[in-house]
C-alpha cells in the first residue's frame, strides 16, 4: 500500500503572508488541521491548528495578533514523503518526529497530504514487521485452502514468514503480502507461478535462470 493510495491529492494551501485569523477560519471551514504554506509553487512551511492556537493563546508570554502573518509561526523546513513510499515508512517517520501529517512531494512539487488519520485507516488494512525480509505480493483465489497451499510451499523451502497481510480486492480475489526471510524471492516466485499462483511481485519471473 503506497502513499498515493491514501493521500489527499491537491491539498488546500496558504501563503506565508496569510494572516493567522484567515488560516484559522480556513481550517474551521474545511474541517482540517494542517495547512501547507506555499510560495512561488514551493513548499516553504506548514502550520497546524495547534500552532495557531498556541501562538495566539492569551496564556502565551507574548501572544501573536490575529493579523500577524503565518510565516511568523509556521514550521520549516518541512518533512515530506513521496507518492511511491509505502505507508508504513511514512508512518514510522511521523512517529519518530512526533508529527501529525506529511506533505507529499513529487518533482519537488506538492501533490498531496497525508495525515495520521489517513495512516491509521491504512494500518487497519496493513501491518508490517521489522526484521530483514523480502516482500512477496500475490493475488489469491477466494477459496478455502489457498493460503495453506502457499504456506506449505514456503515451509518446504524452509522460509520463515515474518508477516502475512491480506485484504480483499474488488475482483473477488484476496491480496496477500508476505514478509519472508529470504533473498531468493524470485526463484520462489517462479515456483509459486508454476504452482498456479498469481504473483504480482517480483515481476518478470520468467527471466529466472
Amino acid at each position: 500500500m503506497l502513499i498515493r493510495e491514501v493521500m489527499h491529492p491537491d491539498p488546500i494551501t496558504i501563503s506565508p503572508d496569510t494572516p493567522l485569523c484567515d488560516a484559522y477560519k480556513l481550517m474551521q471551514e474545511k474541517g482540517i488541521r494542517h495547512l501547507p504554506v506555499v510560495e512561488n509553487d514551493k513548499l516553504v512551511g506548514i502550520v497546524t491548528d495547534r500552532d495557531l492556537r498556541l501562538a495566539t493563546s492569551r496564556l502565551a508570554k507574548t501572544p501573536f495578533d490575529p493579523s500577524d502573518k503565518v510565516k511568523e509561526i509556521m514550521s520549516h523546513p518541512v518533512e515530506t514523503t513521496s507518492p511511491s513510499d509505502p505507508v508504513e515508512i511514512a508512518t514510522q517517520l511521523m512517529r519518530e518526529l512526533k508529527i501529525g501529517c506529511l506533505p507529499v512531494m513529487e518533482d519537488q512539487k506538492l501533490v498531496g497530504i497525508v495525515t495520521s488519520a489517513d495512516l491509521l485507516d491504512a494500518m487497519l488494512r496493513l501491518t508490517g514487521v521489522y526484521r530483514p525480509s523480502g516482500r512477496l505480493d500475490l493475488s489469491l483465489s477466494n477459496k478455502p485452502g489457498e493460503l495453506a497451499r502457499l504456506a506449505t510451499i514456503l515451509a518446504k523451502r524452509n522460509i520463515n514468514i515474518h508477516s502475512i497481510l491480506t485484504y480483499p480486492e474488488n475482483n473477488n480475489k484476496i491480496r496477500v503480502v508476505l514478509r519472508i526471510s529470504t533473498m531468493e524471492i524470485r526463484t520462489l516466485a517462479k515456483e509459486l507461478c508454476n504452482s498456479g499462483f498469481e504473483v504480482l511481485w517480483p515481476p518478470h519471473i520468467l527471466c529466472v535462470e
Binding site: I89, E96, P132, N160, S181, R186, W201, P203
Partner: protein, 377 residues
C-alpha cells in the same frame, strides 16, 4: 602499493550446492586470471578468534554460531536467524566465515600500517550480518570488523556499499558512530530484501546524517546509477573527508542477476569501479579496502569481479574470454557463456519505464541531500 588478500579456506564458507552464495564464483575468477596469464599473488590472512568477533557481535550470538557450526544441537538457533533457507546450518561454516573476517581485518591492518594503499580481499562482504542475527547469507560481519580496526586506529572511515541489497548490518552496527559514514546504493526495499535502506534512515545521535541510503527504483540502468554516485557519493565523501574507503563490491545489480531487478551491465561496472578509485584518490589519498559481496549469476559475477581485479591492478582489460575457460565453465554450469569479457550491447530490450525510473532516482538524491543539508554545514 596494491595487495590482494585471499585464502583457499575461504571456500569453507559453503552453504551447500544449491545455495546461491557459492565459493565457485571466486574460483571462476581465479581460474580466469590464470587462463589470462595475469599474476595472482596474494597474502593469506590468519583466522580470527571467536573472541575477537565480540567487538562486533553479541557474545551469545558468536557462541551459538560456533556451537551449531561444530554440529552441536542448540534449540534456539532460529532466534538468531539460523536454520533457514538463506542461512542454513552447515558444519564448518563458522570457520570459513572467520577466515574471511580475518582477510578483511588483515586488509585494514595493511592500510593502517601503511604497508598497502589499496587492498582487494577476494571474498567476504557480509553486510547483512547483524550484531545478533544471521541474515541474507551472512554470518559474521567482516566489513564491520575491518572498519572497527580502522576507527580504533583513530581513522574516519567511509563505507560504500554497491551491492544491490541494502547494507543493513553495517549500517546498524555504526548507526550512532560519528567516525563512520555508511553509504548504501541499492534497489529500493519496497519489495527487495532486507526491506530497509530508506532515505530517512540517517543515523542517530553523533552519527546523525552520516548514514546515507540511496534506494533506487527497480530497473535502474547504468547512467542513472552513475549520476547517483556523482550527485550523492561525491559530495558525501568531500564533506566527510575519510581517512579510508571500505567498499563492498557486490555484483548483484547486474541485469542478469536472479535475485534482484537493477540493470547494470559489465560496462557500467567498469565505469563504477573506475569512479570509485577516482573518489578514493580525490578524498583519502587512494586508501581503500575492497571486498566482494553478492552476485548470483556466476557467468556475470565472475566477469565483473575479473574486471575489478584488472582495474585494481591497473592492467588493460582483455577483450576476449579464453576458450579454455569459457568451455570449461560452460560445461560445469551447463549454461552458454559470452565470448567476451564484457557484455554484448545492447544487453537487453529498452526499459519502458526508463524516464520514470531516472526521475525517481533524481528525487531520491534530492531528498537525501535536503535531509542532510542542515547537519552538513
Amino acid at each position: 602499493m596494491r595487495r590482494i588478500i585471499y585464502h583457499p579456506k575461504y571456500s569453507n564458507y559453503d552453504l551447500g550446492p544449491e545455495h546461491p552464495f557459492s565459493p565457485l564464483r571466486v574460483e571462476m575468477v581465479i581460474d580466469l586470471l590464470k587462463e589470462l596469464n595475469v599474476p595472482f599473488n596474494y597474502i593469506e590472512p590468519e583466522i580470527v578468534s571467536p573472541d575477537l568477533l565480540t567487538q562486533i557481535h553479541n557474545k551469545e550470538y558468536v557462541d551459538l554460531v560456533e556451537a551449531v557450526s561444530k554440529g552441536e544441537e542448540i534449540p534456539n538457533y532460529s532466534d538468531f536467524g539460523l536454520g533457514t533457507a538463506d542461512n542454513p546450518i552447515v558444519k564448518g561454516m563458522a570457520e570459513g566465515a572467520r577466515y574471511l573476517a580475518g582477510g578483511a581485518l588483515l586488509g585494514a591492518k595493511l592500510l593502517i600500517e601503511g604497508k598497502a594503499n589499496k587492498v582487494l580481499q577476494l571474498g567476504g562482504g557480509f553486510h547483512h550480518a547483524h550484531k545478533k542475527l544471521a541474515a541474507g547469507f551472512c554470518l559474521y560481519n567482516d566489513l564491520a570488523l575491518a572498519i572497527k580496526a580502522m576507527t580504533n586506529a583513530g581513522w574516519h572511515v567511509a563505507y560504500l556499499d554497491i551491492d544491490v541489497h541494502h547494507g543493513d548490518g553495517v549500517q546498524e552496527i555504526f548507526y550512532t558512530d560519528d567516525k563512520v559514514m555508511t553509504i548504501s546504493i541499492h534497489e529500493s526495499g519496497e519489495f527487495l530484501f532486507p526491506g530497509t535502506g530508506w532515505v530517512y534512515e540517517l543515523g542517530s545521535g553523533m552519527g546523525r546524517s552520516l548514514k546515507l541510503n540511496l534506494p533506487l527504483e527497480p530497473f535502474t540502468e547504468g547512467d542513472s546509477y552513475l549520476e547517483v554516485i556523482n550527485k550523492a557519493v561525491e559530495p558525501a565523501l568531500a564533506y566527510f573527508k575519510p581517512d579510508a574507503l571500505v567498499v563492498q563490491t557486490g555484483a548483484d545489480a547486474h541485469f542478469a542477476d536472479p535475485l534482484a531487478d537493477l540493470m547494470l551491465t559489465t560496462h557500467d561496472y567498469e565505469k563504477i569501479y573506475r569512479r570509485i578509485f577516482e573518489l578514493a584518490d580525490e578524498n583519502c589519498k587512494g586508501r581503500a579496502l575492497f571486498t566482494l559481496g553478492g552476485g548470483y549469476c556466476p557467468r556475470a559475477t565472475s566477469r565483473i569481479w575479473t574486471i575489478l581485479y584488472f582495474i585494481f591492478n591497473n592492467i588493460p582489460l582483455p577483450e576476449k574470454l579464453p576458450d579454455t575457460w569459457r568451455k570449461h565453465w560452460e560445461k560445469r554450469l551447463n549454461k552458454p557463456f559470452p565470448e567476451t569479457l564484457h557484455d554484448q550491447l545492447p544487453a537487453f530490450d529498452p526499459i519502458p519505464r526508463k524516464e520514470e525510473v531516472v526521475k525517481h532516482n533524481k528525487d531520491v538524491v534530492q531528498r537525501l541531500m535536503d535531509a542532510v543539508a542542515p547537519d552538513w554545514l
